[in-house]
């Protein structure tokens, strides 16, 4: 993705194309999961595409982005290749986290994607730390911190909001409210009528936006980020969205009705942006079909790439625990044959 100049808007057809890539990627991930090519947990973003796409369209490439475990789309939106994302799901060394992170822990330093965090709300203080660093260094970046509606009742979330408000940090807290924390609806988890009211308790300006509408998300975040760049402060955005699939691959989502799902499907973010662009004469059906075909091809190629990619060799197992290598903790798997044993003497030798 090319670097954006201030005030410049990303091409909407390009962003529609990104939404298609995300959807096709997730569909393919689902299929590969069922084929047991992907292990662990796998949480899909289908239905929520307009949220992260709208967000990245509103910020600069060097702004910081961090999210929770439903993170495939955030990496793709930041410019991580479908190859690196799929390879990560396959646990391969070519993955965006070398196959050490998995579905819930996508990282891409070069594209300013700071994870991929799987303990609910535990990354919200991290995001505040990143925003702290921006202010500490006197930069004009902004941190976008995504999380689900399930995060807002965790202590870490509350502590983080308070710190961000107290220190006036440049951060947008983006709550992707898809109505369910796993199987528990917001109504059953949260005492407030609307999530955005959480922000008020910390004197943080909060707004609600329709997360099924790409343009609305983009324009609102652009407006907020613009204000933050002028004078550093936190902001809160409740983005109302919906996931079509279950919480994870193992969830049949029997806690909600077919009618509810159908209602949201009719409001599909991709269909909606497509209709807007078509109506305005910016996109033909043929062009759309071509974009979709390309997205499918990219994802299919990513599966092939992931399949033929190597795994990290077992000898490398201890290289990613400490910066100074396996030896920092006195670990010598080859000599001791134990999981985490070793000697400082060996440590000295290898230094």
């Amino acid at each position: 993705m090319t670097a954006m100049q201030p005030g410049e808007q990303r091409d909407e057809v390009e962003m529609l194309s990104l939404m298609l890539l995300i959807r096709r990627f997730e569909e393919r991930a689902s299929q590969q999961y069922q084929a047991q090519k992907i292990g662990g947990f796998c949480h899909l973003y289908i239905g929520q595409e307009a949220v992260v796409t709208g967000a990245v369209a509103a910020v600069r490439d060097d702004d910081y982005i961090i999210t929770a475990y439903r993170d495939h789309a955030h990496a793709l939106a930041r410019g991580t290749s479908a190859n690196a994302c799929m390879a990560e799901l396959f646990g391969k060394a070519t993955g965006c986290s070398r196959g050490l992170g998995g579905s819930m822990h996508f990282f891409d330093r070069n594209n300013h994607m700071y994870g991929g965090h799987a303990i609910v709300a535990a990354h919200v203080p991290l995001a505040v730390g990143m925003a702290f660093a921006i202010k500490y260094r006197g930069e004009d970046r902004v941190t976008l911190c995504f999380f689900g509606d399930g995060a807002i009742n965790q202590g870490a979330f509350h502590e983080a909001l308070n710190l961000a408000a107290l220190y006036k940090l440049p951060i947008v807290f983006i709550c992707e409210n898809n109505l369910f924390a796993m199987g528990t609806s917001v109504k059953r988890s949260t005492s407030l009528k609307q999530i955005v009211d959480r922000a008020e308790g910390y004197d943080i300006p909060g707004e609600i936006v329709d997360g099924m509408n790409f343009r609305e998300v983009r324009d609102k975040i652009a407006e907020i980020v613009d204000s933050i760049r002028k004078e550093s402060h936190p902001a809160f955005l409740e983005v109302r969205t919906y996931r079509y699939r279950g919480h994870s691959m193992s969830d049949p989502a029997s806690y909600r009705t077919k009618e509810e799902l159908e209602k949201y499907r009719l409001d599909d973010p991709i269909t909606r942006l497509r209709a807007q662009l078509t109506r305005e004469g910016k996109l033909t059906n043929e062009q759309f079909d071509l974009l979709d075909k390309r997205a499918k091809e990219t994802v299919l190629a990513a599966v092939k790439f992931a399949e033929k990619s190597p795994q990290l060799p077992i000898e490398k197992l201890f290289d990613y625990t400490y910066v100074d290598g396996a030896v920092a903790a006195g670990v010598s798997p080859a000599k001791s044959g134990e999981s985490a044993a070793g000697t400082a003497a060996i440590s000295e030798e290898r230094r």
């Binding site: 050490l100 203080p125 991290l126 505040v128 400490y322 006195g330 440590s347």
Partner: protein, 327 residues
């Protein structure tokens, strides 16, 4: 060399590292305007200003996580816990985020954060405020843990910790803040490597392996034992992880008898790990079973007499030494 307190030594280390590297900042409860709950950060706000020395609300999970996040984008935070007993509120940040990030990101994000503060039982603070956390944290891959016992070690280890690219916990000894010791003058750079033990007193009959608050205890006991013709070698681990196996084995090879005196609990304590490694690696050097002296396996009572009974103390240590020496 001049004599300063453990507290002053830590203060000097903080000041020198703040001075040296603009990416270093100090954050925690009461570190700035109050000048530190234990006055370790005395004068630092005045010298470095509120951008570098930052007070937080009582919000350990929040500010520990803030430190990890700031480290993700290249800063080198020093996060003070008023006591490591309070770090338990931030356990998720210290255990799940700080050490896992480097692995989970495939080596893209290292977390150069220092968590520091007093650790271990102090005096009649009761169960919640008396935790010795070294064995919890040392069991987590990705963390480094050091436990200085003297002013010199406190200064040298803290400075090294701040410069380390991994998350390091500097577990200070609450009861030793006012203790004194000889330290190099401030214009002499003092860096003590992590993972290097230090023989605090040479001896030939028994190795007493200790760290943090048990070091002065062991030294005191060694003097008493000398009068009874028992020569104890005092090995201060200084770092729990990395663990200096070589120093331990060298001492054991010389004395053939071992007592480990630790400030944590006995079950899965630091001594259990040290003990395992000794018997596995130099079993034949041992002339007697190893004995551990630790806290008793109970939450800390407030009552002074009972507290004394729970803690490792001189009587227990002397008895243990005599037992391994068959004296």
């Amino acid at each position: 060399m001049r004599e300063i307190t453990y507290r002053q030594a830590l203060n000097e280390a903080l000041a020198e590292e703040l001075e040296r590297d603009p990416d270093v900042f100090l954050m925690g409860e009461e570190v700035a305007e109050y000048q530190g709950a234990y006055k370790v950060s005395h004068g630092l706000l005045q010298r470095f200003g509120p951008t570098r020395v930052i007070d937080t609300p009582i919000s350990e999970n929040g500010f520990a996580g803030l430190g990890v996040g700031a480290a993700m984008v290249g800063l080198r935070p020093i996060i003070e816990f008023m006591t490591f007993s309070f770090s338990l509120v931030a356990f998720d940040q210290v255990v799940n985020n700080a050490p896992n990030m480097f692995t989970m990101s495939g080596g893209q994000f290292n977390i150069a954060v220092t968590f520091r503060g007093p650790n271990g039982p102090a005096h009649q603070l009761g169960a919640t405020h008396s935790h010795a956390t070294e064995n919890f944290y040392a069991s987590v891959p990705g963390l480094k843990v050091c436990t200085p016992a003297t002013p010199r070690d406190a200064k040298g280890l803290l400075k090294t910790a701040v410069r380390d690219d991994n998350p390091v916990l500097v577990l200070e000894a609450e009861l030793l803040y006012s203790s004194k010791g000889m330290v190099e003058p401030p214009d002499e750079e003092l860096l003590i490597p992590l993972g290097k033990a230090d023989v605090k007193r040479e001896g030939s009959d028994v190795s007493v392996i200790c760290y943090a608050q048990t070091v002065p205890l062991a030294l005191k006991v060694a003097s008493q034992l000398e009068e009874e013709d028992i020569s104890a070698e005092i090995v201060d681990l200084r770092s729990i992880k990395p663990l200096d196996e070589k120093a331990i084995f060298d001492s054991v090879a010389k004395t053939h008898r071992v007592v480990i005196v630790e400030q944590d609990h006995p079950f899965c304590g630091v001594g259990a790990e040290v003990c395992y490694r000794i018997q596995k690696n130099i079993f034949d050097a041992l002339d007697a079973p190893i004995i551990r002296v630790s806290q008793e396996d109970v939450p800390m009572p407030y009552n002074e007499r009972l507290e004394h009974a729970v803690l490792p103390n001189a009587e227990k240590l002397i008895a243990a030494v005599k037992q391994v020496c068959y004296a």
